[in-house]
Amino acid sequence: MLSFLTSLVNGLSLGSIYAIIALGYTMVYGIAKMLNFAHGDFIMVGSYVIFIFVSNLGLSPVIAIPVAVVLCLILGVTTERVAYRPLRNAASPLAVLITAIGVSYLLENVALLIFGADTKSFTSVIPWSGITLAGGEIRIQGVTIITIITSVVILLALQFFVHKTREGQAMLAVAQDRSAATLMGIDVNKTISLTFAIGSALAAIAGAFLCSAYPSLTPYTGAMPGIKAFVAAVLGGIGSIPGAMLGGLVLGVIEILARTYISTQLSDAIVFGILVVVLLVKPTGILGKIIQEKV
């Protein structure tokens, strides 16, 4: 029972990291209508920035994290502007996906050249050691608690932003019908840039928590969590903000439970199995809506 509770807590911790990534993923997918395969690599970039500031320059995470957020934000917006926007109306929807795969590879290989393939041990940005429950039987790490709280705060902030501000409303309009939004006087380019800015900033925050909880950093650190966060976004219903949160948590818990009770080897297979099942049984996910092709 205790080991189950520990796994559950670990699952929620991993799940809330997935949730933060998935929130960015789902907004980009929902609004820009593209699978940004490089999203996970923004996490890696953010993590390296924090690593340099904290471990190499000895600065406080309080400075490092905002710098990482700003740099990732610039990276995200630039990537969209340079690599994705020209292909937005391409004849094949595969064009922008393949380009995103190219961006993912580019980022990983730039990191490989700068930092090398060796694993960097990341210093946790959360110095708090956490709390113990049940007479010391269950220990909940500080990073776990802060990650969960942060993910909830981000969820609420995004919900407020999307539903209560002009920019957020513009995003919803662009997500629903791009050409109609243009006719309504909404600047689609600006809206999509803003979406990328938010998504990439969230990736940097996720990077800080991911590398604090799992303190080994390589150029490929972001790739798998990125893909799994997409699975989470699909599971929750792509384009849905609460769905991304829910999907992230559910996926994190399943992954940790599978690792604990089935096998480490097969836990990834199970996570991907979930994606397959969801897309086949309910492609709209838990909280998503249906979109039909027009003839």
């Binding site: 292909l87 590879y105 097969l266 492609p283």
Partner: protein, 358 residues
């Protein structure tokens, strides 16, 4: 004499035949160099891999360029072909002559990858675009992870398998381990060689290029170009999508057979069968030209060999490929760039005409 010459020329007039000619020419040149002993052992070791990557690229191009769906799971199909054929060769290591054993291993590898391509295709092909790509990636990873934890043994009572440990197989003492979990398959007979690899590359080329020029190929391409219109003229969309995907998986499986019979230890690691490998093959396909079968072969061969031969380049290989990939996509697909290209072309033609009349 002249007649023969004419025949030769008309043979090369068909653009498919040029591809065969290039492959055969490369084979002849390499064989001569190998016989002359001027090929380093490093390069000669790269020849079979060059061929199997070219074969997967041809198979993937059938999926991406002809069917129009992006698969990121072809390394998984390659993995299936590699493991099932290697397990077969383990069983008959000492009881069948090399040539026959490899032929049957090939049949087994292709059959299993086709079977899995078919089974995976049933659910996957109901999706399209991004979702299809990510689900094929998922299936590829599932295959790799399962094969990485699969234990398979054979004894007098038949096959035994387990996903946890060798012990759980409960084999008789005379039992033979075929697949040993993460340790994979060891001691597969090295039945593959460059000539066989070239032969199989040509087989894959014949299959795909002839398919494109047939009834089925046109149906597949019509679905790629416009699914709704294809349905409206009576094309059975599901059937042809399944056909293309299954064949594409089978070709990847064929490459896998070459892979496992060219290496002494076969393991289902990410390095050889992860989604990164699928993406690398996609890079070959895109840089060779989506839908251009010859381009896939040339791109796979050049992009595989170049960095291996120029050691200094290896470090920058993927960096350069990724930049080229992005640039190629934008140049070939961005509507604004295409308009500009068309405009320039018109100007160029006009200019030429003026010069001609002047």
């Amino acid at each position: 004499m002249t007649k023969m010459k004419d025949n030769k020329l008309s043979f090369l007039k068909k653009k498919e035949n040029v591809t065969y000619a290039i492959v055969i020419a490369v084979w002849i040149i390499m064989e001569i160099l190998l016989k002359a002993g001027v090929v380093s052992s490093h390069l000669s070791g790269l020849l079979v891999p060059m061929c199997y990557y070219a074969i997967v690229a041809v198979g993937l191009n059938l999926c991406v360029g002809i069917l129009g769906e992006l698969s990121l799971g072809h390394a998984g199909f390659m993995c299936i072909g590699a493991f099932f054929s290697a397990a077969f060769s383990q069983i008959f290591k000492d009881s069948l002559p090399g040539g026959l054993r490899f032929f049957l291993a090939l049949v087994i590898g292709i059959a299993f990858s086709a079977l899995f391509g078919f089974l995976i295709g049933i659910p996957v092909l109901r999706l399209n675009g991004d979702y299809l790509a990510i689900v094929t990636l998922a299936f590829g990873e599932i295959i790799k992870n399962i094969l990485n934890s699969l234990y398979l043994g054979l004894d007098s009572k038949g096959f035994h398998f387990s996903l946890t440990s060798m012990l759980e197989l409960g084999m008789e003492p005379d039992g033979k381990t075929l697949i040993n979990g993460a340790m994979g398959v060891t001691g597969t007979p090295r039945d593959a060689n460059f000539t066989i690899a070239i032969f199989l590359l040509i087989v894959s080329l014949i299959v795909v290029q002839n398919l494109i020029n047939s009834r089925d190929g046109r149906a597949i391409m019509s679905i790629r170009d416009n699914r709704i219109a294809a349905e409206s003229i009576g094309i059975n969309v599901t059937k042809y999508k399944m056909l293309a995907f299954t064949m594409s998986a089978a070709i990847a499986g064929m490459a896998g057979v070459l892979f496992s019979h060219n290496i002494s230890t076969l393991q289902a690691t990410g390095q050889y069968f992860g989604y990164n490998v699928s993406i690398m093959i996609l890079v070959y396909v895109v840089l060779g030209g989506i839908g251009s079968i010859r381009g896939s072969v040339i791109a796979a061969a050049v992009l595989y060999l170049l960095p291996e031969l120029l050691r200094g380049l290896n470090k920058y290989r993927m960096l350069i490929y990724s930049i080229v990939l992005i640039v190629v996509m934008i140049i070939n697909w961005a509507p604004a760039v295409l308009d500009k290209r068309q405009e320039l072309m018109m100007k160029f033609r006009k200019g030429n005409r003026k010069n001609g009349t002047a």
